[in-house]
Structure formats: C-alpha cells, structure tokens
C-alpha cells in the first residue's frame, strides 16, 4: 500500500535557495543513516548503527556525539567499576593502548579515569529544544507528540476503528491537510500556525530545502542537521525506513522517510518564525556555531580514553576465548559413528544446551547452523490463505508450505478451524465494539472472574497460543507441513525437481556430508512466554521472528524422502539406510526440547529415540541449572529451578521470562571439536564449519555474508540499547503501550515510537547484565580465503575494516590465532596471551 507513493519532485521554484549544492543527495545520505524497525509481529534484531558502518567505529561515535550529543561508549563510571571489580586488568589496558596506537601510558589512563568526563554537549539541537532552553516549557515534547500522533494514525495497522481519512495520500501531504485544521498549536500559543501551514509547498524535498535555508544552517552542517532531526523522531523514522526496506525487497520504493523529515523540519521552521525573539535567535546562532567547531582537545582525549577502555574490556573477553581454542587439535576425521547428531541454531542460547547435551551424552555430536536450516519457506497455517515468512529478513521466501492434518480431509479440517476462529472473532467484536460493549459487560463481565484468577495464578494463558488456536489437542498432534502441492493451491509445496538440489545444498552447508548418526535431530528454537509484546524478539531471528519448528520439520521431512536420499547418493552424499531425521523445537525459556512426528520414526530406531528423549531431558535439567544464577535462583534445588522456569513462561506479570541473548559477544565458525568442552557461558554464536569440505569456499562466503552479519546486528542492537537506551533502546517495559495495532511500543502515553530492547532485557535492577562489547569473530579457515571474501563484499569489508567487529583467524591444525588489522593485515596473537591466560585462570 505504501510502496506506490513515490512522490515526484519537479517543482522547487517556489522555494529555491541560493546555493547550487544538491540538497537531494544530502537528504538521501541522512536518510540512509537510519536503521529499520520491524513490527512486533516479527520483531528482529537490527543494528541501529547500520547506516553508519561506512564510518569507522570511532568516527561514527564522533558523528553521533556531534549530532545528538551521545557517543558510542559507556559512561566513565561504568569502566571505572569494571576496573575496580577486576574485570579489566592492567594487562588489558596495556594491550588496548597498543591496539589503539595511543601514546598514553597505563598510569595516565588509570589516573584519567578518576577525573570527571566532559559534559555531553547538545549536539545539533532542533529549534524546539533550543526554545525549551530559552523559555522553559514543553515544546519538544509537544512537537514530538503531534508528529507521533500523526504517524500513529497514518501508519495504523488496525488499532483505531475509525479510519484515518487521508490514507490515500503520502505522509507529508496528509500531514499538511491534518495540520491545516488542527487547533492544538494555536492553543499552545502559535496563533499563525494554520495560516503558515497553508502556505507550505506540497513537495517534501522542496520543503526541506526551504526549511534549511530559513533556519540559516551552514552548508557543511546540513547533513548533520538532517540526521539529527531524523534521530529526534528516531522511532518513527525507523518504521518509515522499514517500509522502504520492504518496498525495495519487492522492487519498488517508499519515501515516507523523506516525508517525515520534511514534517519535522517544517515544524522547526514554523516554531522559529512564530517564536522569533532576540534570545531565541542568539541561542540558535550559538548552537549552530558550536556545532561547527571541531571537538576540543579535552573531548578528543576523553574519546581516546573511552576507546582504550572499550578495547580493554574486549581484550579481556577475547583472552578467555583465545586461551580455550588456541591449541593444536587433532584433526583426524572421526571414525566412530556418533550416537546422535543434533543441529541447533547458532543462537547463543543453544550453546548452553549443546554443551549440556554433550555432557550427558558424550557420544553425541552437535552442530550449529542458521535456524531456518537453509530452506526458504513461507509457512501457511491450517485454514489460512497466506502465511508468514520464515527466512532471514534480507531474503524472500521461495516456497509456500501449507500446514496439513495427516489422515484427514483437509477441506473439512480447515472449515472447522475457520469457523472456530470466526466465532472467536465475532465474540471479540462483541466484546470491543463501541455499541455492544456495554451489554457485553453486563452479560459476560462476571465470567471474567475465573479468567482473572486463572491467568493470575498462571493456570491459563491470557490469550490462546496463536499457532494452536481453533484446533483440538488431537488435531494438533496430527498437523504438520506438507511438502507436496495441494490440489487447491497448486503453487504450494516444493516441486520434486528442486528437492534433491536443496537437500544437497543444505547438507553441504551444514558440513554434514558423511558419518551420519542413526538419529539426526534438527532443532529449531522458540520461546514460550505470555503477555509479552516483544515475544517475537525472543523467538528465532533467522526465521524472521517466528519459531523455528516449521523450517526444521520441512527439512527433516525432505531428508527422509526415499527419492531424495537416492538422489543425494548419486551426488556423493550417502545417507545410511538406518538414519532418520527428526525435527524438534528448543524452548529457550524452559529449556525443553519437544520432538515432532516421533510416531513416524521407524521401529528399529525406537530404542535410540527413547535414549535421545532421556538425554534431552537431562540436558534440559543441566541447562536450567546453569541459567539459575542469572535468573536469581542460586541455591535452589533442581525441582525448584524447573518449576520456577516453567512458571516464568506462563506468568503474565513476568517482565523477564528469560534473558534472551544478553551477554552475546563472540561468533565462532569452526568445527565443533575446536570449541568442545569450553564453557562459553552462552555468549557465543557457534556455526559449524569445516573448511576442508568447502569447495571454493562458497560456504565460508555464505557464513561471512549472512550469519555473521545477523550476529553483528544482534550484537549491535544489544550494544546500542545499553549504551544509549534513550535513543536506541525501548525504556521501561512496565510502561510499554502498544501502538498502531502492532507496529511497536510507546513508553507511556505519548512520545516517540521506541526501538531496540527494553531495560529489563539488559539490566537486573542493580547492574547491567549485558556487557556492551563488539562482536569478536573467530573463523577457522585459510587466511587467503578470508581476505578474498573481505575484498569482494562491501558489507563485510565495512564491518571488519571499520572496527565494528573484531576478526580473528584460527589456523588449523596449529590453532594459532591471528587478528585482522586493516592495512597491517594479520597480526599473530602474542605469546603473553597464553601466559596471561594461565594467570587469569589462577
């Protein structure tokens, strides 16, 4: 709906301004700095600094400091705390000083830490902010609320039942119409507001150019000002950016972001024109002048200090990993057939479970792979006509897989489900519609006593599980994906000629080409929580915020087909007769693993299946115990931990059902034996990769351009939400208010749409649980291959050369670690690491 609205800019004549500079380029550049925001329905992690990765990390921090006054580093007190608690050692600081190329000494650094940091400056403040300082009052909040209300109404996905009258127009044009009949500005004291709005141009780009000239912004500062304005309404800007992203995926475009910028700037100008006083003009000029000045010596020194401290923290973390993985590992191919193979998502929470499983079942072999298991599907639930995409957001699904009920007539089952859902929708209309809600309360209000009590004590869910709604228990057990096309949906399923190709591609990508166990488990993951607006954020990001079971089931079904197996054999992948693929779902909240279609497993494997179930249960216990401390349950018995964890998944008042990916800091692409036995504390993304099996390093390329980038997105989202929760996080979960149907959340009643993570996902009430560190990537592959991929892909190049991630190469079989430096290329990790590792362990 929005993608068709590409406004055509032709007439700038009314609002020409003198310079010949191309404002369009500056506008586009500023817009590209904003990262998209996915709706709550499939909330995925996004790197909030995505638009800045062409800057180095330090430059990006400086830019943000000049634009909004906050940098990419934690406050001084945080680093001091880390130093005093021993998390940062003197050695770390020494190494960090060297790594940053600084001329300070260690004593300088320690001393400087105790001095107060320079006050953050205002950045490029908007007119409303300057006005607030001149005359007090709530101008910024007022403007923000007006814009936010307008955006919420315009983009509304279904909350408001009285439709927005100007939906057919672009965002900017509809704002012009709405503002020309809105009296609230007049009530705040802007008497000429409506008149001035009527005089504005209808073309957003022209409006922006006009605004910039009216405010007298110097040319070199224009882009920064535009960027600052966008960050001022960062939430809605991110939403508009998402719309553009979606439109581009389909081959179109969307200009709501430019419209939004125009609205913001026009507000500034209108405020400026009406409230023009000597004080305001003076302050405004002052703000512009100070923003033109380069950062002072003091600030530069402070930034350098911050940089050293961040590097020191990261070096401390890297040391623990390096000391663990850096040893010559026996590269012999395993001769023994593993008792079970289990493929999990690379999600950091899987690391905990995998370690637990390997502990209880030493003969098991676990593998890490992206949670959508390489199959690009859109999964259509029973009774629906279209479904959700289960692939990473940078891709489009290739196939439509329908859910079916085994051993039943599809049409009948679907009809039944549709009727049930339709009835519940009718009930809901009855409940909430404007005319009937009164009598609804009379007739059914009292029934809510039982619901109130049972939801309160966790016996029931506040709303039925969306995946299970409308189906009985016995039916649920028989539903599953259908690989073949359905008669009423000829374009569904995976065509037979494609199946073997996909199967081969997936197995090779997972480095599973031989030595198959009797049972191979493909485990997707999801999180069972209730009353959680960000529920999809806890589900699988690789599956676009859905749970991973659909993909796992499809791939397992695919690999069990006899014709696929014979096809694979002809291509060199021989799966033994007695091997069976089974799909499962790892619930990261309760650490339970549910198996699907266990009844289809051949009789001969029933013992293996029973054994697997037992191992999974034990692994679950172990994982829960490991997580117990962070959940505040230290010193509680096994049973106690289990029941508390289960309770958390059903308790509607629980604001932190699980810690999610808090603590993530590393990405390791290597065979499992490289990291086996290491306690990575659930902080690492583990991707299985064996470079010797990788023809032309295609899989390495895939890993570096997709999973590694996704891990960076997740890492940076956590980073941004900790470092600057005001701009890149979503504040206090307790105050979250869902807006626009399911677009996102507001904190409280008004204000900007919020992006990122709430404080409850990062902070336990006393201290930060997530350590803001940049991702440290360890890849076991030849240097040349890695360099080649860096050279060929811009995104990867930007990430590694600009300091957004730390890249390490693990040499095999020696296990020597080398760090990537742009320009210097590779630098071997010094010997003292090994010594310091022992010291640290002591």
């Amino acid at each position: 709906m929005y993608s068709e609205k590409i406004s055509r800019e032709t007439d700038h004549s009314e609002f020409k301004h003198d310079s010949a500079l191309n404002i369009d380029d500056l506008i586009d550049s500023a817009c590209s700095r904003i990262a998209p925001l996915w709706p709550l329905k499939h909330f995925v992690a996004v790197n909030p600094f995505f638009g800045l990765i062409d800057h180095t990390f330090q430059d990006a921090s400086d830019t943000l400091a000049r634009v909004i006054g906050s940098s990419l580093y934690m406050p001084r007190s945080y680093y001091l705390e880390q130093l005093e608690s021993g998390r940062i050692t003197d050695q770390d600081i020494e190494q960090a000083i060297r790594a940053c190329g600084s001329s300070k000494s260690q004593e300088n650094v320690r001393h400087a830490l105790y001095l107060p940091a320079p006050m953050p400056n205002m950045g490029m403040a908007s007119v409303s902010e300057v006005l607030d300082r001149v005359e007090g009052g709530i101008w910024t909040r007022f403007v923000m609320e007006r814009i936010s209300l307008h955006c919420a109404a315009y983009f509304d996905l279904g909350q408001a039942l009285f439709a927005y009258p100007w939906k057919g127009k672009t965002l900017y044009q509809s704002w012009l119409k709405a503002a020309s009949i809105d009296n609230s500005a007049a009530m705040m004291g802007l008497a000429e507001f409506k008149k001035n709005v009527a005089k504005l141009t209808e073309a957003p780009r022209a409006a922006i150019a006009w605004a910039v000239s009216k405010l007298g912004i110097p040319e070199v500062a224009i882009e920064r000002y535009l960027h600052a304005s966008l960050l001022g309404i960062g939430g809605w800007a991110s939403w508009a950016r998402y719309l553009r992203w979606q439109a581009e995926l389909k081959g179109g475009g969307d200009d709501s972001l430019i419209d939004l910028l125009a609205i913001r700037l026009v507000w500034d100008v209108l405020l400026f024109e009406e409230k023009k006083s000597a004080a305001l003009i003076a302050r405004w000029r002052d703000m512009l002048a100070s923003s033109m000045r380069d950062p002072s010596e003091k600030r530069r020194a402070s930034a350098e200090l911050d940089r050293i401290m961040l590097n020191a923290m990261e070096i401390g973390f890297q040391r623990t990993i390096i000391s663990g993985i850096r040893s010559p590992k026996d590269f012999e191919k395993e001769k023994i057939r593993p008792s079970v193979q289990a493929a999990f998502c690379i999600d950091v929470r899987s690391e905990l479970f995998r370690r637990a499983l390997e502990t209880v079942a030493p003969s098991a072999k676990t593998v890490g792979f992206a949670g959508f298991f390489g199959i690009f599907i859109e999964y259509v639930p029973l009774g629906a006509k279209s479904g959700n995409s289960h692939v990473p957001v940078i891709f489009n699904p290739a196939y439509k897989i329908h859910e079916e009920v085994r051993g039943a007539k599809q049409a009948e089952e679907e009809r039944r489900r549709r009727i049930r859902i339709a009835l519940s929708k009718t009930w809901k209309i009855f409940k909430l519609s404007a005319s009937s809600c009164f009598s609804f309360v009379e007739s059914a209000g009292f029934l809510y006593v039982t619901k109130l009590l049972s939801d309160s004590f966790g016996w029931t869910r506040p709303v039925p599980d969306p995946l299970r709604q409308g189906l009985d228990k016995s039916t649920i057990e028989r539903t599953g994906p259908s690989l073949s096309a359905r008669s009423d949906f000829p374009a569904s399923g995976i065509p037979e000629q494609d199946r073997v190709d996909h199967a081969e591609r997936i197995l090779r990508a997972m480095s599973m080409t031989g030595n198959f166990a009797r049972l191979v488990l493909l485990a997707g993951h999801g999180s069972s929580t209730v009353n959680n607006p960000h529920a999809t954020g806890l589900d699988c990001g690789a599956c676009a915020g859905q749970t991973g079971e659909a993909s796992a089931r499809v791939v397992a079904a695919l690999l069990n087909l006899p014709e696929v197996r014979s096809g694979l054999k002809s291509r060199g992948i021989a799966i033994p007769e007695d091997t069976w693929f089974i799909a499962g779902l790892h619930d990261t909240c309760t650490d339970e693993l549910t198996l699907f279609e266990a009844e289809s497993v051949p009789q001969s494997l029933s013992e293996d299946l029973a054994q697997l179930r037992q191992w999974l249960e034990q692994a679950g216990d172990l994982s829960r115990m490991q997580r117990a401390t962070l959940l505040g349950l230290s010193g509680v018995t096994d049973r106690g931990v289990e029941s508390d964890v289960r309770r958390r998944s059903r308790d509607w008042s629980e604001v932190r059902p699980e810690w999610g990916l808090a603590g993530n800091a590393a990405f390791i692409a290597a065979p499992r034996f490289r990291t086996a036995g290491l306690d990575l504390e659930g902080r690492a993304f583990l991707h299985e990769y064996d470079w010797r099996e990788d023809r032309e390093f295609k899989i390495l390329e895939l890993i570096m351009t997709a999973p590694m980038v996704v891990a960076n997105w997740i890492n940076m989202q956590y980073y941004g939400s900790v470092v600057d929760n005001q701009h890149f996080g979503s504040g206090n979960k307790v105050l979250h208010n869902i807006v626009g149907g399911a677009i996102g959340v507001l904190e409280g009643n008004g204000g900007d749409l919020r992006v990122g993570l709430p404080l409850q996902s990062l902070h336990d009430g006393r201290q930060w649980v997530h350590e803001p560190l940049r991702l440290s990537v360890f890849i076991e592959a030849p240097r040349g291959a890695i360099e080649d991929i860096i050279g060929r892909h811009e995104i990867v190049r930007n990430l590694v050369n600009n300091g957004w991630i730390h890249l390490f190469q693990v040499d095999s079989p020696s296990g020597e670690i080398s760090k990537w430096h742009p320009g210097h290329r590779w630098e071997m990790s010094a010997v003292e690491d090994r010594i310091s590792a022992f010291e640290a362990a002591a």
Partner: protein, 564 residues
C-alpha cells in the same frame, strides 16, 4: 432494621490492609520477597474475610451497624457494602499478586505495596462507611492516595503531570460532597447514615435550601461529586492519560476508584428517591459520556488510551443505568466491568498474541492487517439479514424479561436498557453477517442460539442481584418512579428511537452489501469531525492550560507569601 454491635470481622476487613501497610513501613528493611509475601498474604486474608462476611449476610440478611462510640467513626454493612467489599478485595488481591513480579525491579517496591494496601483499606472504608464523616474522609483520602500511586515513578515528569490532573479533578469533585454532607447534618442533625435515611424517608421536604427541597440539592451535589470521580464528560481527561502509569495501578483503579460514582449514588439511594430531576441529569450526562467515550475509543491508536476511553464509556453507561432507576444494575455493571477491564489491562501485552495470529484467515477487518482476500464464500441476502437482525434480538430480550420480571412494560428504565440490548444483539448479528462464512445460515443460527443463552443467563442474574441489593420492593418501585419521565414525553421518544434504530440498521446492511467504495476526498464536515475527535475534543489541551495556570498561580502566591 436492627442495630447490632457484632464485631470483629467487619472491622477487620477494613483494618487488615492498614495493618499491612504499617507493617511494611516498619519492616521496610526486609527483602522484597518478604514485603511481597506479607502484603499478598494480608490481602488474601482481607479477601477471605469479606467473602465470609458476604456469605454470612446472605444467610442472615440483616444489615449491621458498628460504631466506635463517638458521633462518627462507624461501619455499616448492608448488601451494597458487602458486595462491593468482596469485589474490591478480590481485584486488590489479584493486583497484589501481579505486582510481585511486575514491579520487582522498579524503585520503591516497598513504598508501592504500602500505597496499595493503604488504598485498599481506604476504599473498603469508603464502601463500608456508616456515617458521613467517615465517608468523606475515605472519599478524599482515595484522591490523595491515587495521586501518589499514579506518580509512583518519581523520575518521569509525564507521570507527575497526569497525576496532578487527576488530583485537580478529584478536588473539584470533593467540594460538592462536603457541602452535601454539611447540608444533611444541618437539616437532620446526625451523621449516621441509617438514621439519616430514616429521617429523610419520614420528612423529605422539611428543610428547603434556596427554595429547593433538600433532597434535590443534596442529590445534585452528590451527583456532581460522582461525575468528577467517574470521569464523566467534561471532567474525563485524566482517565485515559493516567493509563501512562504502571499497569497494576490502572487495573486497581477499576476496583472502586473510578467507579466510586456509581457506588455513591447507590449509597444515597434514599435521597434520590425524592430527587427525580437529578436522575434525569445523571442520565443525560451518562449518555453523553457513553457516546463520547465510545467515539473517542475508536480513534485511538495505542492500546492503553483506547482502554482508557472505553472505561470512560462504560462509566457513562453506569450512570445511564442509575439515571433510569436501575440502581442495582449499575452496581452489577461496575463489578462486572471491573473484573473484565482489570483482566484486559493486566493482559494488555497479549495484544501481540492477537496480532500474530492474523495469518490470512479470512474474516472481518477489525484488528487485521491488509491481506489479499479471495471471495470464496457467500452471504445472506442483505434485506433478509437486516430483518433478522432487527427482529430477533428484540424478541429474545423481550421474552426473557417477560419471563423473569413480569411487568416490565411499565418500567421505563427497563425499556431504555432494552434498547441498548437490542443494539447489541443487532451488532452481533451484523458482525456475523459481514463475516462471509461458508455456511452463513449455520453461522447465524449458532450466534442466535448463543445470544439466547447469554441473554437468559444475564437477565436471571441481574434480577437476582436486584432482589439481593434492594429486598424492599417499595424502595425499588420508588426509585423507578423517581427516574421516570411523563408518559406523554416517553412514548413518542420510544417511537422515534425505534424507527431510528430500524432505519439505521437497514442502512448499515445496505451499505455493507453494496461494498461502496469511499470517495477519495473526504468532505470537510467529516474532516472537521475527525480532527475534533482525534484531538479528543481539545479537552486535554484545556486541561493542560488549566493545570499550567494553577501551577503558575500557586508559584506566584508562594513568592508573595514570603513577603508577608
């Protein structure tokens, strides 16, 4: 009515929450877990005591009056107090349990629980108050405590701002109630409520006030206090904006804070028997509020404000019921609503659960995303459906009332409520019609059957409740009589309303059936209306203006007073 000093249990119901608050204050150095356990435990005790009290009352229907010995400071446990006490204690218990984890990381955990307990105790004091002074004290304390609860988060300026709006409005509402109490005392010489009501029944016209009979003046003042307390138009703005605060507080507000208006009117029922015109005013204000609340709810884009306006509409409806003389129904409504809304608030995060399941399953456009739809199903012919919609609910409702209540045709109030029920049933059937089911007849019949069951159930319950609350038939009749308007006005009104409703539904069906596309440029009238509604009738701006003025004034007064 016999007076018996029977004692410990009823006073415990009120005292236990206060005791809990005191203990928390004393032991505030304890861990959060201890505070939570203490408070939840005491809350549970309060609930069980009030439930026990209600059961005892049902076994032995004698209202009890307990006095502390002085001129004031007494409790009066009649059916109204017993039922309200259970509802308040119940919702309070649920909120206590919810807040254990929900507020676990907020600063001021112990303070929050102290306030919750104090609030619960004060509300219970209000519902069980036996004399004017106790009632007034409790009434005003609720306003004060609410201010503290809403502004619990000391760091958020927005929370403080809206808490102030609430306090402001509540103080406007406290004044009439104080005046009413003063008038009553001056006229009848006693604070005690049962005695007061007896004397009013004996001599209602004894003491005119400015030419008005006393009950009329008192009734008007009480009604004004009720309007402010229950967010009636135009004193409603504070309600949706206070949803900004922590969710447990929003849920608790439905347990006797925002619906105290309905309670106070019921409490003063013997006064309203002689103040029929005030009841008409209450009806009018309630109707306007109900309509406004529903309209405003339709244009809200975020869930909490939407729920806030919905509550405003429901409170309006509660006043409509009072205004037509169905006092006990108003209490029934406010309790049912409290349960319903409380559940909705506490589970507001599940909205996303709702949004997740819009997976292209064809249905109505409420709460949906834009999905490609393939018309595969049929609908009933619109004329037929319209007739069914208009006739069936009317029949169902009429029949059930007749079976239960007998002479309902004589009660005007019942007829008006019948209209609401009719609109509801019609809405339900209309929604079914628009659903494009595969077997529309089957759908329609299923819905009608459910409607019959639901309506029958509710009529029975409502009738039983009425008998429970006002066992004395003459009082019930007198209330209805006070609320009714002359037949010569009523009959034409009913006729016009009937015709409007029938025509309205026919038009709606016609529009839906022809699926007329909306013209691209909305008319200026529609735009103006939209703008007005989306700005919430500028009430918030007016409030902001007044609030700023008051604060500025008090600041200047503060400065001047230093020179005195």
């Amino acid at each position: 009515m016999t007076f018996s000093i029977d004692g410990l249990m009823p006073s415990c119901i009120v005292l236990v929450p206060f005791l809990s608050a005191l203990l928390i204050l004393l032991f505030s150095s304890g861990t959060k877990r201890q505070v939570a356990r203490l408070s939840v435990g005491m809350s549970a005790i309060t609930f069980f005591l009030s439930a026990a009290s209600l059961i005892l009352y049902m076994l032995d229907p004698q209202p009890r009056w307990l006095s502390s010995g002085g001129a004031w400071g007494s409790l009066y446990l009649d059916p109204l107090a017993s039922v309200m006490a259970v509802a308040v204690a119940g919702i309070s218990l649920v909120v206590h349990v919810y807040a254990v984890r929900y507020m676990a990381e907020e600063p001021g955990y112990a303070r929050f629980y102290t306030l919750l307990d104090l609030m619960t105790g004060t509300i219970l004091l209000m519902v069980a108050a036996g004399d004017l002074v106790t009632l007034l004290i409790a009434w005003q304390l609720i306003g004060v405590l609410l201010y503290f609860l809403l502004g619990h988060d000391l760091e958020r300026p927005a929370a403080q701002r809206y808490a102030f709006w609430t306090f402001f409005t509540y103080r406007i509402g406290d004044l009439p109630l104080i005046l009413a109490a003063a008038l009553l005392y001056k006229a009848y010489g006693t604070f005690s409520l049962p005695v007061l009501f007896e004397r009013i029944a004996e001599s209602p016209d004894a003491y005119p006030v400015f030419g008005m009979p006393l009950p009329l003046a008192v009734g008007l003042l009480v009604a004004l206090a009720a309007f402010a307390r229950s967010a009636q138009f135009p004193l409603h703005t504070w309600l949706p904006y206070t949803m900004e605060g922590p969710t447990p507080v929003s849920a608790l507000m439905h347990a006797g804070i925002v619906n105290a208006g309905g309670f106070i009117i019921n409490r003063f029922a013997p006064v309203f028997i002689h103040a029929g015109s005030v009841l008409h005013l209450v009806f009018a204000v309630g109707l306007v509020t109900a309509v406004m609340g529903s309209i405003l709810m339709l244009t809200q884009n975020d869930i909490k404000k939407s729920l806030g306006y919905s509550t405003m509409g429901q409170m309006g409806f509660m006043f409509v019921e009072c205004g037509v003389g169905a006092f006990s129904l108003a209490i029934y409504h406010l309790i049912a609503h409290g349960l319903f809304k409380g559940t909705l608030f506490l589970g507001a995060g599940s909205m996303i659960g709702d949004a997740r399941k819009q997976d292209g399953i064809p249905h109505d456009d409420v709460y949906t995303f834009v999905v490609e739809r393939k018309p595969v199903t049929s609908r009933l012919p619109w004329m037929l459906a319209a007739v069914v919609t208009v006739v069936v609910p009317f029949l169902v409702l009429g029949l059930s009332r007749w079976l239960v209540g007998g002479n309902f045709v004589g009660q005007q109030g019942a007829i008006i409520l019948l209209f609401f029920g009719w609109a509801t049933g019609a809405q339900l059937l209309f929604a079914t019609y628009r659903l494009r089911a595969e077997n529309p007849w089957r759908m329609m019949i299923m819905i009608i059957l459910s409607l019959i069951v639901v309506v029958a159930g509710y009529t029975l319950i409502e009738h039983a409740f009425d008998l429970f609350m006002y066992p004395d038939r003459t009082i019930r009749e007198k209330i209805y009589a006070a609320a009714s308007i002359p037949l010569s006005t009523f009959d034409p009104l009913v006729a016009v309303l009937t015709v409007t409703i029938v025509v309205g539904w026919l038009a709606a069906y016609y529009a839906s059936a022809s699926d007329k596309a909306r013209s691209p440029d909305p008319s200026p009238a529609r735009l103006a209306l939209y703008s007005l509604i989306s700005r919430e009738f500028y009430a918030a701006d007016v409030y902001a203006f007044f609030a700023q003025t008051v604060l500025a004034l008090s600041r200047s007064m503060n400065v001047w007073s230093r020179w005195l």
